[in-house]
Subunit: 364 residues, 2 copies
């Protein structure tokens, strides 16, 4: 989606990917190599004006190497670390005095036991790195500590299970000079740890919405990110807690393509290329986004495109990925006068793409 | 832009173009060959689910050959003829009883003289085919008839010079089953025969706006177009005259990308692929589009992207074409509460891309 936004502005994109038919190949030149291949990454960096990343799988050391080689990298290694290493991020946020859930970075299973006995069971344990869409996150009871430790790898973040009223996300684009464009908070709904539903505006009192955008901008400045930053927060007892961040265009910002004057993808490009940031004016009073996720039968949602397009007002995005159960294959966005209307349109089209009967879909 | 719209929905696009680096190559596979190469066009048709065209340079006979070979072609040859051959189109529209300027298809220079002496000088003479962006159109005085005849080729359309108050365009998407989606009329401003400025809503009384959309839908049904049809009309004395049509996404519809729920490019794809048509709900009360045209100094507008993006609310599109004086290289769209506001934002950004000082730009 970033490549499509780039092409619209006449900006050429190259992508480093081991798969020559990766989704970005639709709108970018592909240099076929793995991002963990030091030599390839160096070669790639030398060919382009600026390098950015759309996932957290790149070793921080590799980003730092690019920086030392004089390549323009955005976000830089220090900011990217906050998305790549959850333990480093949580420690840094706590140091900065940002509100975070009560947590410990566990050095051994006993540290988890001690934390849980104090904070209450169950706790939530997250792998320090490599987690994605709910993988690498476990709700851990006292009996499961040994298993969880083995599964999550060294140094997981262990935190209190927060009884949140809502989850919200705020997207911030930040340029090298510190200027920012901040989108209003969106509400996110997770299912099995994967973001499945996003709506705007988030149902927050105005003061809390303002606090959320302020908090996200504070995080962006504190970590010196260049590009788009997504700050995911819990709302607990009318207060905000920073959960985690992503230093790239994020699933919780997909609705910005239709709902705001400038999409998160264009903002990311603008920031990475050090161009003026765009307007974050909304176009309609409300918007909703639902992910299209590979169904157990392995069907391709593209085969159901006609049914989905029959839903008036639904904007359908399919990523051209081979279908696989549980894989994010696309999303649907709808704009409307109110959130329930937008959700209803987006859900109707997404259910058709997912091959889900309407009643079943309504459950999520 | 059609290829970008297709990719968003996961639809794969192949393009037949003699230039492997053509703009569509950014988002489509290119089969490198000329569209007038019969063999290549046949081969291309056999590889894809449906064929469409984004210019009027394809011989009607070639389209008919594809149809006979059983390829899904949209628009078909009969509808495409209305865009490719202005003489055939004007005769057909007159037969259908549609309001058109007074005209003659001239068989010789004497026919032009006779028409002009009767209708009044100057007249407007248009090459029957091959015209584009003002090329192939001449305002002809009695003394210029011999020159004009030589320049325009056989069988030009010669018409009265219509003292129009405004030019409007209506975009219609039509499916094979006759269902249509009709956008409200836009106002167009030409300069040297090239469309340079489009704004919505067109300043028409409500009854005339309704008449314009009705007339465009009537043309779409009459010629049986499948895909997007642009119907350009003159407003004269509060009446509408059909000027000419294009059977493809059209420059006068570029603002639909931002201004309406479904863009003309997506609608064209939906119609060509026989998918349900999308909503034509506007997102804001007004919109404007200004073309970015190659300046005499041959500068690349991409080099001025930063200046243009500093204009808040401007959506910049650059096509990745090599710059050449007078060539359409991109466009800028802005949405706003009123047409003057939208025009002002779009002009400001387009002037920066065109390297035109603000005062100069205001002239156009």
């Amino acid at each position: 989606m970033t490549a499509l936004a780039a092409r619209r502005m006449g900006v050429r994109v190259a992508v480093l990917d081991p798969d020559p038919h990766c989704p970005a190949s639709a709108a970018a030149e592909v240099m076929v190599a793995d991002h963990r291949d030091e030599h390839a990454l160096g070669e790639f960096g030398s060919r382009v004006d600026a390098v950015t990343f759309d996932h957290e799988g790149v070793p921080v050391a590799a980003i730092a190497r690019l920086e030392r080689a004089g390549v323009t990298v955005a976000p830089g290694s220090a900011a990217a670390l906050m998305a790549i290493d959850k333990a480093a991020a949580r420690r840094r946020f706590a140091e900065l005095g940002l509100p975070v859930p009560r947590f410990v970075v566990a050095r051994d299973p006993d540290a988890i036991l001690a934390f849980g006995d104090d904070a209450g069971w169950p706790v939530v344990a997250k792998a320090a790195s490599g987690g994605y869409d709910g993988r690498g996150v476990r709700v851990v009871e006292r009996d499961d500590v040994t298993d969880a430790w083995a599964a999550l790898g060294p140094g997981p973040v262990v935190e209190e299970r927060v009884p949140f009223e809502a989850e919200v996300s705020v997207l911030v684009a930040r340029r090298r000079d510190g200027s920012t464009a901040v989108y209003p908070p969106v509400a996110t709904m997770q299912h099995d740890g994967m973001c499945v539903e996003v709506s705007w505006p988030a149902p927050l009192p105005p003061a809390l919405a303002t606090a959320a955008t302020g908090l996200a901008a504070e995080v962006a400045q504190a970590i010196g990110v260049v590009g788009v930053l997504a700050v995911e927060m819990f709302v607990v007892d009318g207060r905000l807690l920073v959960n985690e961040v992503a230093t790239r265009p994020h699933n919780t910002g997909h609705l910005t393509i239709e709902a705001f004057t400038t999409s998160q993808f264009e903002q990311h490009l603008r920031a990475v290329l050090d161009l003026p940031l765009g307007s974050v004016e909304p176009l309609r009073p409300a918007a909703a986004m639902i992910n299209v996720v590979g169904s157990p039968d392995g069907c391709d949602p593209l085969d159901r495109l006609a049914e989905a397009l029959a839903v008036a007002g639904a904007s359908v995005h399919l990523y051209g990925k081979p279908p696989r159960p549980g894989r994010k294959l696309g999303h649907v966005t709808a704009l409307a006068g109110t959130v329930p209307e937008a959700l209803s349109v987006a859900r109707a089209a997404a259910n058709r793409l997912n091959g889900v009967a309407a009643e079943q879909g309504a459950r999520s």
